[in-house]
C-alpha cells in the first residue's frame, strides 16, 4: 500500500470523515476559548465545570434519552448551577469561592455517577467520561457547527471590551464596560465549548482541548490576537492529528488528542524563542545596550531638571 493511500484510508469511512470534521471544529473553538480561560486564570474553574456536566448529562439521559440537544441542555444547566451556586455559597458563608466550587463540583460528579444508573436507555459511563468520537452523529456535528459559529462570532465581536476586562477588570469598569455581563457570557460559552467536545474526548479530558493549545500559544507570542487564533489553529490541527494517530496506533482518540497537544505544549515550554526554558539559558536575552543608553539619558535628565538635588 502506498503512503498516500494509507493517509487517505481513514477518509473512506463516513464515520471517520464525520469524526475528523467534528474534531477540527471543536479543536478550533476550544483553542480559541482557551485564551480567555488562561488569561482569566480560570483553568481549574473550567476543570470544575467540565466535571459538573455529568449530572446534567445523566438527567438528560433519563428523561430525553441520548439526543445530542438534550445532553447539551442538561450539561449546560448543570454546569451553570455549579458555577452560580459556588458564587452564591461563597458570598453567603465563610467559604471562599474556590472551596465552594470545588465542593459543589465533586458532589455534582458523584450525583452524576449515581444518576446514570437510572437512565432508561443503556448508557455506558465510560462513553460520558472518555467520549466516543467514532460515534459522532449528525446531531453532534450540528452542535459542533453551532457552538463554533456562536462562540467565535461572539468573542470576535466583543474582543475589545473582553481584552480590557481580562487585562484589568477595574480599568474596564471605569471605561464604562459591563464587566459582569461579559464575564457571565464568557462562562456560558466556556460551558458550551466543553459540552461540544464531550463526544470527542469526554468529561474527563475536555479540559485538555480548552487549556493545552492556548497555553502553548501563550508561551509563543506577546500578541493577544495571535494567541487567540494561534491557539485555535493549533487546537484544530492537533485534534485532527490526534484522531489520525489514534486510527493508526489503535489507541482511544481522547488520550491521543490530548497527548499530541501535550507534545506541542512541551515543545513551547522548552523551545519557545521568547519564554522557552532551554533557550533562556542558551541565548542571553537582555537589553544591555539599550539600558546603558537609558542610564546615560537618566544621568543627563537629572542634571538638567534637578540642579539642586543632593
Amino acid at each position: 500500500m502506498s503512503l498516500l493511500s494509507q493517509l487517505t484510508e481513514p477518509l473512506s469511512y463516513t464515520f471517520m470523515v464525520r469524526a475528523l470534521l467534528s474534531c477540527a471544529l471543536i479543536g478550533f473553538t476550544n483553542g480559541f476559548l482557551g485564551t480567555f480561560v488562561i488569561l482569566r486564570r480560570q483553568a481549574l474553574m473550567a476543570d470544575a465545570l467540565s466535571h459538573s456536566l455529568l449530572p446534567g448529562l445523566a438527567v438528560a439521559a433519563i428523561f430525553l434519552g441520548l439526543s445530542p440537544a438534550g445532553l447539551l441542555l442538561g450539561g449546560l444547566i448543570a454546569a451553570m448551577l455549579v458555577a452560580l451556586g459556588g458564587q452564591l455559597m461563597a458570598r453567603n458563608s465563610r467559604l471562599k469561592d474556590e472551596t465552594a466550587i470545588a465542593a459543589l463540583y465533586i458532589i455534582a460528579f458523584a450525583i452524576g455517577i449515581v444518576l446514570i444508573r437510572f437512565a432508561k436507555v443503556k448508557v455506558d459511563l465510560t462513553h460520558f467520561l472518555f467520549g466516543n468520537i467514532l460515534g459522532v452523529g449528525n446531531g453532534d456535528l450540528w452542535i459542533a457547527y453551532g457552538a463554533t459559529f456562536l462562540t467565535i462570532s461572539t468573542l470576535v465581536l466583543f474582543q475589545r471590551p473582553l481584552l480590557l476586562t481580562l487585562f484589568d477588570a477595574t480599568v474596564a469598569r471605569t471605561s464604562g464596560i459591563r464587566v459582569g455581563w461579559l464575564e457571565s457570557g464568557l462562562l456560558v460559552l466556556i460551558v458550551l465549548g466543553l459540552v461540544a467536545s464531550l463526544q470527542a474526548v469526554g468529561v474527563l479530558l475536555s479540559l485538555g482541548l480548552l487549556i493545552l493549545p492556548a497555553a502553548t500559544a501563550y508561551l509563543m507570542t506577546n500578541s493577544f490576537s495571535r494567541m487567540l487564533w494561534g491557539g485555535a489553529i493549533l487546537g484544530s490541527l492537533s485534534a485532527v492529528g490526534g484522531l489520525f494517530l489514534s486510527f493508526y496506533a489503535n489507541i482511544p482518540s481522547g488520550p491521543c488528542i490530548v497527548l499530541l497537544m501535550a507534545i506541542f505544549l512541551g515543545g513551547a515550554y522548552f523551545f519557545s524563542p521568547r519564554y522557552g526554558l532551554l533557550l533562556r539559558f542558551v541565548i542571553k536575552h537582555h537589553y544591555h545596550d539599550e539600558s546603558l543608553e537609558r542610564w546615560k539619558g537618566h544621568q543627563d535628565h537629572e542634571h538638567h531638571h534637578l540642579p539642586d538635588a543632593d
Partner: protein, 254 residues
C-alpha cells in the same frame, strides 16, 4: 487662588459625598470643587479614605449620599473623560500586550466594538507614545519596562483616551528616585495641558515639588488648598495626630 474655584468653572465637584463599606463610612460628607489644570495630591493616614475617594470618583464604588459631578453633569456617562490608573500590584504584567497595544485600548471608546482605527486614532496613539517618551519602547511587552515606564504607559493610555480627569492611586510607590522625577515631570506636563490630576500619595516631604494643590483626608475632609498651606503642622496634627478626627473642619471652604 484659582484652584479653589467657584462651582461654575470647576471640572470636578463633590457635594456632601459619603462612601461606605458595609454601612461603615470610609469617607463622609466631603464637599470639594476642583478646576482643570491642577495636580492635586490626596494625603492622609492609612485608612483615611484616599483610595476610596478615587474609586468613588472613578465609579467603582457607589456613594451612599451626595453627588459627584463632572463639569456640572452626573458622573455616570462621563466614563471616557475619566482615566483611572490602578495600583501596580493589581495588574497582570505578563499579559500578552505591547505598550502600543495598551495605549490603543485607550481609543476603544472612540472606535467602538468593531470600527477600524482611523487616521485620527492612529495619530492619537502615536502622540501619546511620543509625549511620554515611549515611542522607542512601543513594541515591548509591558513586563519588559521599568516601573516608571509602566506608569507612563498607563498615562499614555489615558492621554490617547482624551481623558480630562486623571485618577492615580499611589503611583509613586516602589519607584526609584529617577523614575519618581520622570513621573512627576510627566504629571506636570499633563497639568500644563489643562488636565486635572488627583493623586493619592503618602510622602509628605516631597509633596510641594509635585503638587500645586493638596487634599488632606481622615475620613472627613480636614483641609484643602495650596499644598504648602494644607500640609502645615497644624493640619497634619489634625489628620495624623489622633486616630479619628472629630473637631471642627478647618481650611478654606468653597
Amino acid at each position: 487662588m484659582n484652584h479653589l474655584s467657584k462651582n461654575s468653572d470647576s471640572l470636578l465637584t463633590l457635594r456632601d459625598l459619603t462612601v461606605s463599606y458595609h454601612r461603615v463610612p470610609a469617607i463622609h460628607h466631603v464637599s470639594l470643587n476642583l478646576a482643570a489644570g491642577h495636580c492635586v495630591g490626596i494625603f492622609g493616614p492609612n485608612g483615611a479614605g484616599k483610595s476610596t475617594l478615587l474609586k468613588a470618583i472613578a465609579g467603582l464604588l457607589h456613594p451612599e449620599t451626595g453627588k459627584i459631578l463632572i463639569s456640572g453633569n452626573d458622573v455616570s456617562g462621563a466614563a471616557p473623560l475619566i482615566a483611572y490608573l490602578p495600583q501596580r500590584e493589581s495588574i497582570d504584567w505578563d499579559f500578552p500586550i505591547t505598550v502600543a497595544g495598551l495605549v490603543e485600548t485607550g481609543r476603544y471608546h472612540q472606535v467602538g466594538l468593531c470600527g477600524s482605527f482611523s487616521r485620527r486614532d492612529t495619530v492619537a496613539v502615536e502622540d501619546a507614545l511620543a509625549l511620554f517618551n515611549l515611542t522607542s519602547l512601543a513594541h515591548r511587552q509591558i513586563n519588559e519596562l521599568s516601573g516608571g515606564q509602566q506608569q507612563r504607559a498607563f498615562l499614555a493610555r489615558a492621554w490617547a483616551q482624551e481623558a480630562d480627569l486623571y485618577l492615580l492611586d499611589e503611583p509613586f510607590t516602589g519607584l526609584d528616585r529617577t523614575s519618581c522625577s520622570a513621573l512627576s515631570s510627566a504629571l506636570g506636563t499633563l497639568r500644563d495641558c489643562g488636565k486635572l490630576l488627583l493623586v493619592s500619595h503618602h510622602n509628605i516631604a516631597e509633596a510641594e515639588a509635585i503638587f500645586d494643590t493638596a487634599i488632606l483626608l481622615n475620613g472627613e475632609l480636614i483641609a484643602y488648598g495650596s499644598t504648602a498651606e494644607v500640609l502645615s503642622p497644624r493640619h497634619l496634627e489634625c489628620a495624623y495626630g489622633t486616630a479619628i478626627y472629630s473637631g471642627k473642619q478647618t481650611g478654606k471652604k468653597p
